[in-house]
Amino acid sequence: MIPFDVTADDAGDRLANLEKQLLTLPSRKSYLLPAFHMAQEYLDWLPRESILVIASHLRIPLSEVYATATAYSELRLEKPEYGAWYVCTGVACEAAGAQRIIDAIEILPEKFGRTDCQFLCSLAPICTDHRGKILGRLTENRVRALFLEDSGDQ
């Protein structure tokens, strides 16, 4: 999905489409979180323009809509950057060698970050690759192999 860009040609169309989609939700406060999900699914993040549309459809003050949006860690209020690997550093993954995985990725020309528990502790250590795919029971060798495979694809 292409993240919403306010300067792009299709920005107006996408916002109009979002407004149409929102009409399927009742105009009640209870549908605030479903509305956030709907917008984020369609635009990939929640630009200010989408927050305005949501506020007017649900008839909630903008301040309250923002107050709620900022309280959820999975709602993106900034345009996301893709292409990074995320290594889980929860307790189980840490114990299973998350640091070794980080070391292995670090020397590759890949962007990476750390995340909290991803709830797949039974397959620790895990990481999500730059496409968002979860990789379980990871080893340094597998990281290297995946990277080589990937550069071969391109």
């Binding site: 209870s30 999975e74 709602l75 840490e94 397959l123 620790a124």
Partner: protein, 499 residues
């Protein structure tokens, strides 16, 4: 009300024909993370199954995550008796000859399925259709209890001593009775947020047997007189949401949630809501605020949700596993069981079902899942609100009230208690929602105190006490628990710090 006996039967009768040999590919989150599909192809399993005319079925993880990627080969003979065999870790190699023998109709086997009952009995055996679930007993209990009156159902649940499986272990029967006593409209909220690191059993339940949850919901709706149900699922549990939505649609389309199946005058309305992150979103009053469209922060208690929950009306809030467990209470065996999410220094991590009657010891459990006890210094029960169990206490019986939501992380000889404790404290600091001061400021102070070279244990103790007493919700109230438990169980770790 139409004849209920015949209703589930109509679903079964509609089934055309059954394939006799089946190959179950255990996909789900665990299978996907271990590249099951490409492994199957690489190992020639798909080719073999197709050459033997076996039906290839994509199913969920069966709870034995350690075995992923894995497949189950199954054959059913004319009498309906089935033989099945699992092939584990097929990425490391698979005995194709033995796999072929199971699927090959000309070979005869003498070992059969054990006809297991219980929460995990359908894990990894369903193909995602309603029919497969009904064939294995789904909705059979609901059909039975719909012929009883509400009072006797409530009594049955109270007698069973079923308690809240989200970790608080509040008696389920009592909760239902309290809500039922109040004037309606009443709501049911299913807590499927499961945001506690180290716990992954609800995700498995949603992926592997969603119809069991729906059946539990129907029983609760009938017994308590619920008008509307909200199922609040963790926003990151994509497969769980997908699997539950599919099952719900199947139940609705087939009439399971309609007048053909439900008792007279009963109507069911189930809505799915996806969460959007935050450990605190698993706290029950936070979920209420979230559903109402308010900021996801906790509410003061009392009033309790059974008196004033969603929009001020009586609300039952149950964990996924609690409602699923309701469907096992009318079986002769087993008694209510508890799901365990096992990870760490252990040969076979995954989801397990253990008895709740206090007959199993830590030693017994750990040995049964392949632990080398001499290499286990302790286990951590639950995540950031959990406690440690020192190896000296492994001969004690497992008691429900101590195990929280059932997350067990097994430590290894080179685990550092201090590092783990600090990591958990750091998690609590990051996840504090900031609504109340004891938790917002306390979690920050606690991590600061713990990171010092000489830890002032007296100050730590006092701080934890304040957080326990004064926090708005249990997230703050229990944030100091792992720290306290680490200090109690491993005093030597902290000796240099004592003043």
């Amino acid at each position: 009300m139409t004849n209920q006996q015949s209703f589930l039967k109509t679903i079964l009768d509609e089934s055309s024909k059954h394939s006799i040999a089946k190959l179950f590919i255990h996909k789900g989150t665990c299978g996907d993370a271990t590249d099951i599909v490409s492994v199957c192809e690489k190992q020639g399993i798909i080719e073999l199954a197709m050459s033997l005319n076996a039906e290839i079925i994509e199913t969920s993880c069966d709870g034995r995550c350690w075995a992923a990627p894995s497949v189950t080969a199954q054959k059913i003979d004319v009498g309906g008796v089935s033989y099945s065999r699992r092939f584990d870790r097929i990425d490391l190699g698979v005995k194709l000859k033995e796999l072929g023998e199971v699927l090959d109709l000309s070979t005869v086997h003498n070992v059969f399925d054990d006809g297991a009952t219980g929460l995990t009995s359908r894990f990894g055996q369903l193909d995602g259709t309603l029919l497969a679930a009904v064939e294995r007993g789904a909705y059979g209990v609901a059909e039975k209890v719909f012929r009883q009156d509400q009072k006797s159902i409530l009594s049955k649940i109270e007698e069973s001593k079923l308690s809240g499986r989200g970790g608080a272990h509040f008696p389920t029967g009592l909760k239902w009775r309290l809500a039922a006593q109040n004037e309606g409209p009443r709501y049911l909220v299913v807590n499927a947020e499961e945001g506690e690191p180290g716990v992954f059993k609800d995700r498995h339940l949603l992926e592997a047997d969603p119809h069991r949850l729906i059946e539990g919901i129907l029983i609760c709706c009938y017994a308590v007189g619920v008008e509307k149900t909200f199922v609040y699922i963790n926003g990151q549990a994509h497969k769980g949401i997908e699997s539950f939505m599919t099952a719900l649609e199947q139940a609705q389309n087939s009439g399971i949630t309609g007048p053909k199946f439900l008792p007279e005058k009963m109507a069911v309305d189930i809505e799915v809501r996806a969460g959007a992150g935050g450990y605190v979103c698993g706290e029950e009053s936070v979920i209420l605020n979230s559903i109402e469209g308010e900021r996801p922060v906790p509410r003061f208690k009392p009033p309790f949700a059974t008196d004033e929950g969603l929009w001020g009306m009586p609300t039952v809030i149950n964990n996924v596993e609690t409602l699923a467990a309701v469907t096992t209470l009318w079986q002769d065996f087993p008694p209510p069981t508890k799901l365990i999410s096992l990870s760490g220094n252990i040969a076979r991590p995954g989801v397990y079902e253990i008895p709740t009657d206090g007959t199993l010891s830590w030693n017994g459990f750990l040995l049964s899942v392949g632990a080398e006890l001499e290499t286990v210094p302790a286990i951590l029960l639950g995540g950031p609100s959990g406690t440690f169990v020192h190896r000296e206490k492994f001969d004690e019986q497992i008691e429900m009230k101590n195990i929280g939501a059932g997350g067990i992380f097994v430590l290894s000889p080179n685990s550092s208690i201090k590092e783990i404790t600090n990591s958990l404290a750091g998690y609590n600091e990051r996840e504090s929602c900031g609504e109340c001061t004891p938790c917002r400021e306390g979690t920050i102070r606690l991590t600061q105190l713990l990171q010092q070279e000489t830890v002032n244990l007296k100050k730590v103790g006092e701080l934890i006490e304040v957080m326990e007493e004064a926090s708005l919700c249990m997230l703050g109230g229990m944030a100091g628990r792992p720290v306290k438990s680490a200090i109690e169980n491993f005093p030597a770790t902290w000796i240099s710090a004592e003043q």
